[in-house]
Symmetry: C2
Subunit: 236 residues, 2 copies
């Protein structure tokens, strides 16, 4: 009774990790790799920790929570965006469109970033630098201060939303044919609606499902936004 038969005693001592110490940067690196290679859903505290050869609890010494990690990922991606430093007042509309194309390009290159970015203002320093650059373009276009300030919120909202939609489809691992099949199904669904109540939807079924593959849809949004903003510019 004084001693039980198998007493585990100390479990051999885990030898402490011989690896280099954890840092915020190493965590973001690992998370970014997971994000790009396997999409947003693969970025869990557990999987990131596992990729670093440790447990999830270890991450919380360097990152407040999952949301903060998401923000860090967004900021890391913003770093890759190349935006003009000295905008040209004569070409501001085209420059604005280019900037939005660049934002979409980066989000596509890092699938899942849109998912992490949606619904929260990116406040990291690198993201703020993008904001500054966009503001410069808008000021070059002679937009009133208030309009420029709100537009700089509206613009990423659009790009992020578009990229997010693509991400949702991409997350399911859809191939080009899958997308085509989905669009075709969508179109025939539109056309199958009751004609008395959905005349326009049926008539425009083709147009509504057009441009889903390429960038025409996105370009349309660019056109609408820049035209709308241009209409607010104070005449010089």
């Amino acid at each position: 009774m004084t001693q039980s038969p198998w007493q585990p005693i100390t479990p051999a001592k885990p030898a402490r990790s011989p690896k280099e110490p954890l840092t915020r940067d190493r965590i973001v690196d690992a998370a970014m790799r997971l994000l790009v290679e396997q999409g947003y859903d693969a970025v869990s505290m557990r999987k990131v920790a596992q990729a670093l050869g440790t447990g999830p609890a270890s991450l919380y010494a360097h990152v407040a929570n999952k949301k903060e990690l998401d923000q860090l990922l967004v900021d890391r991606a913003a770093q890759d965006m190349k935006l003009p430093e000295n905008p040209d007042p004569d070409r501001w509309q085209e420059q604005l469109k280019d900037a939005m194309r660049e934002m979409l390009r980066v989000m596509r290159a890092n699938p899942g970033v849109a998912r992490a970015a949606i619904g929260q203002v990116p406040l990291g320093e690198r993201a703020m630098l993008s904001t500054e650059r966009i503001l410069a373009i808008l000021k070059a276009g002679n937009l009133p201060d208030q309009a420029a300030a709100w537009a700089v919120d509206l613009i990423p909202l659009y790009v992020t939303a578009v990229s997010f939609e693509e991400t949702v489809q991409g997350a399911a691992g859809w191939s080009k044919e899958d997308v085509e099949r989905f669009v075709a199904g969508l179109r025939s669904y539109f056309e199958s609606l009751p004609p008395d109540r959905f005349p326009l939807t049926i008539a425009l079924a083709g147009a509504m499902t057009a441009g889903s593959a390429g960038d025409e849809r996105f370009e349309f949004g660019l056109t609408v936004l820049t035209a709308g903003l241009a209409s607010l510019a104070t005449p010089t």
Copy 2:
């Protein structure tokens, strides 16, 4: 040994539920109530089932999965949107703005719907009817078919994104003062950035954080979008 002391005997027989049978509608009802009262995160298969006095597995006989339930919630909300049936060509821009205001109103009345709607085309019949109505307004404005077709995608995208942003804040149970405090913090963060690299952000810090409380920000988006769309209308 032959009999243990407390033998539970038969567990009283669960008497089979004396309640009315489960239906898709009852499930959506319960989910909607949870959504409105406690936000999107409260809408889990488990909680919906619990609200109906059953287990989560029971729901799967009527609803394919969580995503389908989300779609059903969006469609249920779309039902509440009152949009004009016979748009007036002379007032189409104002009618379009009103329609978007109505969409936002409904999304606000059902907090969490935006979260359920984001990133997926709403295909339910009631949602499609809203699409039809918006199309009618756009056609009244003499937009080319392709423009109208893409715009009818762009418009809910904007409204949903705005509502979603509000939802994220609201989900944390923020009061009016909380929002004010957050905005004030944001503003002083902008102003504290290095002046050499962020001159515009600092100069416009006030403007960028303005209009977060009311609807001015949303109205700005309406103005930009309608103006941009109007610029695409074919002259009559």
